[in-house]
Symmetry: D3
Subunit: 288 residues, 6 copies
């Protein structure tokens, strides 16, 4: 017999690196998680769940095998407990992808991983804007004595981008101070996706980093996250909003904060994987 | 003292066999489950949960004790791992029930158990049609190297019934090939129950086998199933749709794919039991 | 160093007793729970979860630290298995709070704990009325051979208050007899909160005891309860209804039937805590 | 077809009542449990697990089907939250069994259920002695403001039997006061079963009530209990000790404190069921 | 950048196929499991857990990276529900490995998978003997109406090998009939490994298929299995016994019946992986 | 009424700070955990479990209320994700305790927290030695790209103390390189506590920091830890070994690596709390 080593990839992400236009990779880091950790397991769980989902989308009538060119780069090896080194690793990897003209698609991990990728994207695209879906504003300046935390990550992105470049949707949690700070420096739509279509039009030609904190979903749909926040959006709300954003000029993207150990039923894993499939197909359709 | 042996029945299914017009029984088989097994525990779990639910429906203002004649036949003894023998056991038992002029009401188990009951019903009623509620099309011709699988069961039913006799609702998952095959051979309503009322009228006098795969529900409502699919219907959607179907000429029915171990909160068990109660009452009301 | 003993309070309930106008306390009793016990852990779990939620409400734009005066009295020490003694302990404590002109806010425990508090409130306010949110009517006269049970608690309250003083919302479960009894003696709105606004106006000046059985929520939102009932209200439905009630003349209130062990994801705990925060803020805003 | 109602019995307990010499029954009560409740589910869980264990013992080379005469009376209907009524129900049922010359074998529930059975046995056998296996002394006079609790049950038994009639083994937990009280009034062997053989000889002809609190086992073997205590005995230790006791003149017995929800692996259920099988076979062998 | 597809292997099994002398592969099949299914997840779980264990054994002072030549072939694709086809797939694959002069090391799956590998090994080695570690005799002739089941697998092996070729250790469960059948046709050591050393000497030059059902371990050590049996051996007992067997002329081997979903703590996964490491190292040391 | 704020302390640790000779505190940090995080919840879980355990030890016949002077300082507020800042916070707090002539007793958290306390102790006691109980050597120089990790903590302690000052017991896991490094620089007893008594005598007058990684216990006893290692010591082994060490000149101590989410049965929490009680009593007895 001839046998090759055992290869495992995320659903339908089976192209060679050279042929791919999108590169998915895991960023298994949750060291700053202030409540229940576990997001470090998200990307490898999504990979493991992949053998159980179809590559075909009945919503889009497209199939990952035929209609996308995605490579799965596996997991980054990150320094748990060493936040700066972790951010550098993510920055370096993302930068290399961008230089190779791939679209980086990172799967967290906690939300702080976004900062590493945004640094790389902003370096390449000085006019970078961020579309941010989340339950939490993540705009604190400091949290638990550190500037680098899942709770401060958008404030750190603002350090790079400045005022008026960050557009938040679905926010329903924050301390008074950060919400007030947000009113002056970013554009925040509370609770839902109202106004998204208009902003998509306004920013039609601008390079976009799109970050989706999956806890924007209602916990009934997505209990598998460290800090569930009641009152969120539905699966179809989020699917459609992500589909709309896919038409923008996206230069980097991520999905973060799935924490598999928080949901023993496993349904959160399948929700995340299904959103990933739909978004990869939508991105691929727009690519052409 | 005089003491009898310990009898356990499903909620309100306490009539004698001779007096019953509906017979509920468990088909604890999940050998072809391709992802997370566990549906074998569904019927006995529903029986065990029964002491905790009222027999009275506030929706229908009817009570199982007064308004129904249902016998609980307990569990079939099935040959796990031996699919053909299992299907024969189900076929034989269902056939006997039909011969005794009882309405068979099977509780799965995985969806393949439906095939055994449909064989018996189609034999008796050559003009049998199927109403099928599900998240998955289950129309593959082969899966994992076998023709007999939860993923092929409706294709096997089509082998018996032929084109135009199967009506699917709520479907939101399938591979491209089976969805396309379905377009030619069955009538599929994607995502929801639109058009159900019209089909009920069209098929008013036709003998109907009605199969409900409970994963047609959204996973937020019903995480206790092996392959949860985001984007499903609500409890009230399904309750009302089942209620509507109860007015048809139903000659056999089942509820499948509850997998108790997948939902440690137990709420899926109570959802299934409540739908069972509502549907038994609706069937009984139409019987008269 | 100078170090004080370790103090733990519910989210934002950090005022001194003398300064507080609302007093929150736990009533960890679940001895009559007929199905899955565990509500005894609710109040201490809510306290433990508190370090993970913001004190600020983005709905009300108010903050517990600035906009409320709440004291957390910790846990009552109740006699598990001794129902009468437990009710007396709750009665005594509530009476003392009322005498001190505090608003008692009890966190169950099972629903029977309400009876102890209602006794104290009715003694002080002979014209007491009850607003009752619940999935279950709780109107049986006897259950499992006892008059004092979570399933009889509103009937016992009726013993004190008499006809026409109890207003139920969201009810979707009961046996036929209790539902029929309810039609004559209390006002029951099935399934939802329709008509609540009108009743709030009608009872504008009447002293109100407000009891919220959290299982009025749909199990998808709130699986962490002993007897989940499909078909319930959403988080926002309940939040808004509680907000509306907060404008009434509330002289005592409780939130009951959170059972943390029933929901390993923990989301039910956060739902309960968030509703507590919103309701405390709404009450405090009305207080002024 | 002729079909009978669904009968479910504990493993091998399938004789008719009239023919049985041992009667097993469940006492699903846990209202005084001071920590994690759940023992109410023990007897029905053991019944449900029974289809998965052999009736044959490779230790004794005996088979329940051939070598025992046991009837399973199912579950007592107990008044949760009403301790006195519950004890009376147990007392009445046990008394009837004794009058019918059956050996009562109760499956708890919490340890307080023993008191009901001991009352009946002591009435019939004034010289009753108790053999007590447990991790906890259960000798408090009062606990949480009540005289009737799982923590006081052996003290209550002592109220009936007086000094020198209770023999405890395996005890490794208690407050100082109850341990000291025990030194004067009962015979306590700490930590293990040393001295058991001698006591068996001494009490050879005395009527014995034998109560086994399964938490005498080490939590590694038996995590499924409300108050696990490290440092307990092994499965084989307990099996052999119970086997030795089976040779005494046992007039009543129980196994208590299995709490299925505390052990999601289910192994505690099988440990309890296996000990039940071994003990029933040993009792039956001695009966002849 | 140059990036390769994501490769995942079992701990230290990282050689190329051509260079390997041992080939590990998964046989994810549990269709005949009569109680709690889930062993289908064993091999992929062991692979996923591998990144968390050292390749170095402090017992043997050997390291998989330096001291072994093992290839991980990944998962066989088996026909769930189609037992015969599954056995053929295993037979074919094992036969190819033997023809390539590799030692097949299968990770179940349920115990029936052993039959496929034994067929291939017995074909090549007509004098094949089996060393069998297990809690259960697995010697039934038929179970649940089928000849092919985890409960009959050693009887089916006996069909091939005949009397006196199967040596069982650790057995502590069976029905009377199969235990008695076993006394005539196989050599069974009940409860432990006594006599193993002697048999190893006696069979020094005979080709051995060695099958380890991990439920031979006590459930306290290994709760992660479908049918836990109290009274088993310790981790060190099993490690040493496997080490002893490694010196025999092993021509095929397997480890079966790990069921990850049965043990949420995950410790059973690590026990299985550690035994795998130790056994691979012991086999490799003997190879040289 | 007069009511004080809700105080919660660890079992029996109820003295005032000024009166205490031992100070227990939590160090809820697990940012470098390389596998399953969750130890951050250990100290608060132990506090919450405390209401369910007796203060009296039947082993020592001593009671925390009468025979100890312990203050519970609650939880340190640590910077998750910021390892250096966290170690400084621990260092500062420990130093203050030592200056106040208290014995610091830290409850982790992951093992890296030990480094902060050892820094403070070594500063005060230049001749500090370490007694280290653990399954893992924790002697790597670097792990996942960082020098500061649970896997390197004893190497970092060696940086401070130098050769021959660290005595390890129970070790059964490590990579080859660290085990070999350990042979030259520390004294390691593999697998068990052999030789402990001799070392206790040898180091009778030396200041000792005693660190107990609870995963030295066998996972059957203590599954509630991130990296369970089969083949560990029993509860009584560890209890007795800790008791022996309590007679040394201990100047600082900790218990680390309990991870409550890893053990849903909760027994690991009670094992940790019981060992804490026994060790506090033993320390207090030696203090006098």
């Amino acid at each position: 017999m001839k046998l090759n080593k055992n290869i495992e990839t995320i659903l339908g992400c089976e192209k060679e690196y050279a042929d791919a236009d999108i590169v998915v990779f895991g960023a298994p880091f949750d060291s700053t998680a202030s409540y229940r950790p576990g997001t470090r397991f998200a990307s490898r769980t999504i990979r493991a769940e992949s053998y159980n989902m179809e590559t075909y989308s009945p919503y889009l009538e497209l199939d990952l095998e035929e209609n996308s060119l995605v490579f799965d780069a596996g997991e980054l090896e990150l320094s748990l407990g060493n936040t700066q080194k972790t951010l550098e690793t993510i920055y370096d990897f993302t930068k290399n992808l961008i230089n190779d003209e791939k679209l980086p698609f990172m799967i967290g991990g906690e939300h702080l991983v976004t900062l590493g990728a945004v640094r790389a994207a902003a370096e390449k695209y000085p006019n970078l804007h961020i579309i941010h879906f989340d339950a939490h504003a993540d705009l604190r300046d400091e949290f638990l004595g550190t500037k680098f935390s899942h709770a401060t990550v958008l404030h750190r992105c603002h350090d790079i981008l400045g005022d008026g470049r960050i557009f938040q949707f679905g926010i329903r949690s924050g301390e008074r101070a950060e919400i007030e700070w947000g009113r002056e420096h970013v554009r925040t739509r509370m609770f839902d996706f109202s106004g998204l279509e208009k902003i998509i039009k306004t920013l039609a030609d601008v390079p976009i980093y799109f970050t989706v904190d999956l806890d924007v979903l209602d916990p009934s749909v997505f209990p598998g996250t460290g800090t569930p926040e009641a009152g969120g959006v539905t699966f179809n709300d989020l699917r459609l909003a992500m589909n709309a954003v896919s038409a923008m000029n996206i230069v980097g993207t991520d999905m973060v904060e799935l924490s598999p150990p928080c949901d023993l039923s496993g349904m959160s894993n399948t929700v995340a994987l299904k959103l990933l499939r739909e978004f990869l197909l939508a991105l691929s359709a727009n690519e052409k």
